[in-house]
Amino acid sequence: MKRTLAVLVENKPGVLARVAGLFSRRGFNIESLAVGVTENPDTSRMTIVVSGDDHVLEQVMKQLNKLIDVIRVSDLPAEEAVNRELALIKVGVDSTTRAEVMQIVDVFRAKIVDVGIKSVVVEVTGDESKINAMEQLLRQFGIKEMVRTGKIAMNRGAKVVQTEKKA
């Protein structure tokens, strides 16, 4: 089972290595990881997707919490969170297929962000399944290159992941 964690960390050198090292040494699997600074420049936020059952998830969270540079770990259940990923997909096209590709892009509310003679670059945002579906459909035209950001996630509604840990 896949689980999404929001991990607030000190925005300091070496913190990513501490987190990544913890996963590999304890035998936990990272499915995806995305990092960026938060509204508070001292704090970065990692969105980590891990696979495992409840026991694994509990251990991952507890072990992460033990790292001094980890401020807070929250579990973001899929149904209570907005999940997004961004992908750039370079698709091979010619005069006969260009229109069809553009149509698919339209249906997915994606964008074409670069147009060449033999290829276009598609930008698509959405949850994992949407991006997978898009990839599936574009495959017939020949995907020359693809890059995905890894998932980021946030609670729906008023609930927030606080940057200060409550004592």
Binding site: V9, E10, P13, G14, A17, R18, G21, R25, H55, E58, Q59, K62, Q63, N65, K66, L67, I68, D69, V70, I71, R72, E164, K165, A167
Partner: protein, 559 residues
């Protein structure tokens, strides 16, 4: 008024002084020259070891014996990597030490410079936290944090890597009054509701067992443990790390449990209906086959580290908190008039009678006898051990009555730990008799420290149970590899008496039972560092034993 500036190196020394550090174990080198220059005039005692590994173990022994943070210091590169085994040993046993290392100047970091090693990277998985000083002005803050992190919560080693150029950079020194760490707030007070639930289970249990470990000692909770045990008349078994947490000769004591535990401790666990686990981590050497561990028991687990709870076994009542604090609270709720555990204690008494911890009592000099004699001659000694059979016999046959009197590498099982650790113990507890119960193999891993103890007049006694074997490995070869003693025979490796004399220490040998007491007494009386070479029965086995992977009641008596 503008503050006068001091060098980064001086700031290090000042910070150590602010933390109350009075002794450092270390070894110099190019990238710590400015630090050693400051140490030359400082009020801090520096003990020059002969190998950095020994510095880390000595800091660790000092910390375990005194409860204070131990400090070691090494240069960059090979100096730093030589500390690694010692840091890992401290990490596995939750020992508060601060390790200081020199590093190449900042401008050279990452260049594979001469004697550069990425020690913060290397020690990431074996430190509670570590630092690379990026700016000399951070030194006071880093030291304040490092000592705080090392000694609070679940204690552990912290490393500070200090580039040489930051040691000479001038800074304004002001030692912070408090630490502010957003991501580190250990829980000391247990949840009241959970404690009440635990109390109710305890009051209803008919076959309770208290299973306790190093956490009791670190949190200074021995008195509360005794209160709980006597209050509910529950037997107590300790892990290797917990030896001394409960008096071995107390009627409720079951001794050690697990692979080389007593039969009655293991039987009690397997039949118990309630296990109260305090400051322990359900290590595989304790639980044996985990799915068969304590099949009938509910489990209450009290620990300061939430990550230990539920890691290896399912727990019915988890309580995160400091053992002393939680036990104090728990004691309020478990006052009971009559004990439900009478039948249970009777059963255990019968087991104790039927399966005592013993060995063959004949005319041969057996290692267990040596440990018993040490216990008789020096009942107040602090026992440090090496690793192997010697370690198990030291745990089984000395009568421990007080915490911090049994000091041993439990989690990592580091051969060569005992002697340098004993040196640290003696420095921290100069009034105590300190005896390293050693194996002939282990002792040779750090015997160079004879020079250190002689030079610095640190009178520790090393009692070598000399069986001419890597005995514990030989035991496994005997049992599981058809007595094919592949590379475990150490006969004629060295004359330990002459070795002692070569360094200027006292060397004595006993080859028969009648000599044992005499040479122990002579060593104690001499007040000199001493090596006692006990030439013991070569193929003695540690008994009883639970084979790896078996349930802990599937325990064998070995000849």
């Amino acid at each position: 008024m503008a503050k006068t500036k001091i060098s980064g190196a001086k700031a290090v020394i000042e910070s150590l002084a602010q933390e109350g550090v009075d002794v450092i174990f270390g070894y110099p080198g190019g990238q710590v020259l400015p630090l050693y220059d400051e140490l030359y005039d400082a009020d801090i005692r520096h003990i020059l070891v002969r190998h950095e590994q020994a510095a880390a173990h000595a800091a660790d022994g000092y910390a375990r014996a005194t409860g204070k943070v131990g400090v070691c210091l090494a240069t960059s590169g090979p100096g730093a990597t030589n500390l690694v085994t010692g840091i890992a040993t401290a990490y596995m046993d939750s020992v508060p030490i601060v390790a200081l290392t020199g590093q190449v100047p900042r401008s050279l970091i990452g260049n594979d410079a001469f004697q550069e090693a990425n020690i913060t990277g290397i020690t990431l998985p074996i430190t509670k936290h570590n630092y690379l000083v990026q700016d000399a002005k951070d030194i006071p803050g880093i030291f304040k944090e490092a000592f705080y992190i090392a000694r609070t919560g679940r204690p552990g080693p912290v490393l500070i890597d200090i580039p040489k150029d930051t040691q000479v950079e001038p800074i304004e020194f002001e030692y912070p009054q408090e630490v502010k760490l957003r991501g580190y707030k250990p829980t000391y007070v247990g949840n009241e509701q959970q404690i009440k639930k635990a109390a109710s289970l305890i009051l209803h249990a008919e076959k309770p067992v208290l299973y306790v470990g190093g956490g009791i000692i670190f949190s200074d909770a021995c008195e509360e443990l005794l209160g709980l045990a006597e209050g509910i008349m529950a037997p107590v078994t300790t892990t290797l790390m917990g030896m001394g947490a409960f008096p071995s000769n107390h009627p409720l004591s079951l001794g050690m449990l697990g692979m080389h535990g007593t039969r009655y401790a293991n039987y009690a666990i397997q039949e118990s209906d309630l296990i109260v686990a305090i400051g322990v981590r359900f290590d595989d050497r304790v639980t044996g086959k985990i799915s068969a561990f304590a099949p009938n028991a509910k489990i209450i687990h009290i620990d300061i580290d939430p990550a230990e709870i539920g890691k290896n076994v399912r727990v019915d009542i988890p309580i995160v908190g400091d053992a002393k604090n939680v036990l104090k609270n728990l004691l309020k709720y478990v006052k009971q008039e009559q004990s439900r555990t009478e039948a249970w204690n009777k059963k255990i008494a019968a087991w104790k009678k039927e399966y005592p911890l013993t060995y063959k009592k004949d005319n041969f000099l057996r290692p267990q006898f040596v440990v018993e004699q040490i216990s008789e001659v020096c009942p107040d000694a602090i026992i440090v051990t090496e690793v192997g059979q010697n370690q198990m016999w030291a745990a089984q046959f000395f009568n421990y009555r007080n915490p911090r009197t049994f000091i041993s590498s439990g989690g990592l099982g580091t051969m060569g730990y005992g002697f340098p650790a004993a040196m640290g113990v003696k420095v921290g507890k100069p009034e105590s008799t300190v005896i390293d119960v050693a194996g002939d193999g282990s002792f040779q891993m750090n015997s160079q420290e004879l020079a250190t103890v002689v030079q610095n007049d640190i009178p520790v006694i090393v009692a070598i149970l000399n069986n001419g074997f890597l005995g514990m490995v030989r035991q496994w070869q005997e049992l599981f590899f058809n007595r094919r003693y592949s590379q475990t025979c150490l006969t004629d490796s060295v004359d330990f008496v002459k070795l002692a004399e070569a360094y200027g220490a006292l060397g004595l040998r006993a080859t028969k039972k009648g000599d044992v007491k005499d040479i122990i007494k002579e060593a104690v009386k001499s007040e000199r560092p001493a090596i006692l070479d006990f030439v013991v029965e070569r193929e003695e086995n540690v008994s009883p034993m639970v084979p790896a992977g078996a349930a802990i009641n599937e325990i064998l008596d070995l000849e």
